[in-house]
Amino acid sequence: MGEASELFPLIVRMDEEGELVGDLGLLSKQDLVDIYREMRLLRAFDERAWNLQRQGVIGTYAPYKGQEAAQLGATKPLHESDWLVPTYRDWAAGYVRGVPVTHGLFFSKGHPRVGDVPKSAKVLPAQVVIGAQTLHGVGVAWATKLRNENAATIVTFGDGSTSEGDVHEAMNFASVFSVPLIFFCENNQWAISVPIERQMRAKTIAQRALAYDMEGFRVDGNDYVAVYNLVSELADRARRGEGPFLVEAVTYRLGAHTTADDPSKYRVVADEERWAKRDPIARLEKFLLRESLIDEERILAVDAAAKEWVDEVLADFKAELSISSSVLFQNVYAEMPQSLANQFDHYQKRAKEVRA
């Protein structure tokens, strides 16, 4: 039975040449124009963040470059009452749900505001312990079920995360309690320096679903049309009580693991180039050009808009940098215990001395 993987053929609707090999499903051509623009903006942000780190403006940053179709395809179908429980690389996904993309910068800056997610967004703040959030995803979905909220939850995680025990426990709990959850794995082929073939012997992540009698799907994660349609359908089904589901979105981390990482130590350029050709934005652009939905002029306009938008974002970021150290002590418990209040006094005295 080495062929479990064959049960999960890759779902593609638009191939890397921007040719439709399926239909647009729930999407209109105009949707694709809009999404192209949004991905370009987000790509511009990601690239700028990289540069900001190089300039020393922010700290370690984990780029999502190459994973935009997966992240947007996973979140655009969600309703307001649905939840996103993201992995730490999902600033584009969070953005779709209403978390300012600046949070990626706060994160890399080591700024507490990274956790300040608007409650209306129904997004949990990113956490860094690989895989741990999958259990939170199960719990959130379970809560919506117990409260009859008619909501779907999507939890995202990387390929490397699938090795963690927590992810197994999450999938087992989710299936035992039939929670309205989509496990959305962004298989970007790498966990820092470890390629997926060393992470597991199984040929696909989708086949993990077989262990739980859960439905599993393998989708081209660089094909927005495919991801969007799949997640739309599964979110609907989850809301109807048919969850959980496992989706493996096959994509690629075009950049380094983080700004602190040097991929040349462990991967070959040929591989990177091969995947660059499958870029989710490039294929959309090809499609839109061919269909005359955009032209060169429009592309230049998007370039300009992207730059402008990123500048605005950075202005917001800088404006929001100032924050009181009290958040450190105030958010440990709902009420600050006496001993911690004493420690806060001590901290503030030191802070004053240092400033003096």
């Binding site: 997610v117 939170h136 199960v138 719990g139 809560a143 117990l146």
Partner: protein, 326 residues
């Protein structure tokens, strides 16, 4: 008012919490049909149904991790870990997740949940089942650590823990589950978290402990009074974090001597922290070192040796006398 054991008092508290608030759910291994291996959740499944009282798969990190998500999304999970020794499986979900939800989200989210678990020795259980690991969690900001020593406090503290806006690790001294009965009010009531209890007043020495050690301390105080004319004050901490330093320090300032007792292994047990705090805050009052009576620095022994391994009254009395005669 009925005379209840700790086990019954806890069961009553859970039933009343489930009754009062639809968002409260009880989950864990064998908590449903079986009513828990110690029967603390007995009868709850029948009364509240399987959406409220939930037998989970055998996976501790799963139990705590899903509870974090449940709590964030508005439920009030009361999770059971079958024995404290299995809490290791959940350390990340407790220490890096549940305890940090409020901190990580700048207060936007919180994870009000209770993790109940029996602990302590003396019941001839297999390896790992008797370990006292409270110190690991007193070293974890963001979670409260609570442990009752009698039926009245058991009910009142558990209800307060369920009300609490923050995660609470609720440690149940398993040796005391059915050791004795006390009057316990029928109606729901709360015993405030964060307050230590002076269960016996005294002038010559302060004996400090929690959970399963409290009966030892009382017996030692009796013995000290009866045989040595020593008046011992006994403090039951009840809440380990946040610690009620004031009650401890005020007491020791008066008595000028203290003994701390716990079953956990000695090195880096919570007794060390208490000794450190007392000597820092009451240094000039002390007539003797703060002594510790604790488990030895070995794994909890197979039960053949546990009686001698555990602190006992004789040892507490002898150590108190060492302090008095120092």
């Amino acid at each position: 008012m009925a005379k209840l054991t700790i086990a019954q008092a806890l069961n009553a508290a859970l039933a009343q919490a489930l009754e009062a608030d639809d968002s409260v759910i009880v989950l864990g291994e064998d908590v449903g049909k079986d009513g828990g291996v110690f029967r603390i959740t007995d009868g709850l499944l029948d009364r509240f149904g399987k959406d409220r009282v939930i037998d989970t798969p055998l996976a501790e990190s799963g139990i705590v991790g899903t509870s974090v998500g449940l709590a964030i999304a508005g439920m009030k999970p009361v999770a059971e870990i079958q024995f404290l020794g299995f809490i290791y499986e959940t350390m990340d979900q407790i220490a890096s997740q549940a305890s940090r939800v409020r901190f990580r989200s700048l207060g936007r989210y919180s994870a009000p949940m209770v993790i109940r678990t029996p602990y302590g020795g003396g019941v001839k259980a297999p390896e790992i089942h008797s370990d006292s690991l409270e110190a690991l969690f007193t070293h974890t900001p963001g979670i409260k650590v609570v442990t009752p020593s009698n039926p009245y406090d058991a009910k009142g503290l558990l209800l307060a823990a369920i009300d609490d806006p923050d995660p609470v690790l609720f440690l149940e001294p398993m040796r005391l589950y059915r050791a004795f009965r006390d009057e316990v009010p029928d109606e729901p009531y709360r015993v405030q978290l964060g307050r230590a209890n002076v269960v016996r007043e005294g002038a010559d020495i302060t004996l400090i402990g929690w959970g399963p050690s409290v009966p030892l301390l009382k017996a030692a105080a009796d013995d000290l009074a009866a045989r040595y004319d020593v008046s011992a004050e006994v403090i039951d901490l009840m809440t380990l974090t946040p610690l009620d330093e004031e009650t401890i320090v005020e007491s020791v300032k008066r008595t000028q001597r203290a003994v701390v007792v716990h079953e956990a292994v000695r090195t880096s047990g919570f007794g060390g922290e208490i000794a450190a705090v007392i000597q820092e805050k009451a240094f000039l009052y002390l007539e003797a070192p703060i002594f510790r009576v604790t488990g030895y620095d070995t794994p909890y022994p197979t039960t053949m040796f546990e009686d001698l391994w555990l602190p006992d009254t004789t040892q507490v009395v002898a150590t108190a006398l060492d302090a008095i005669r120092y």
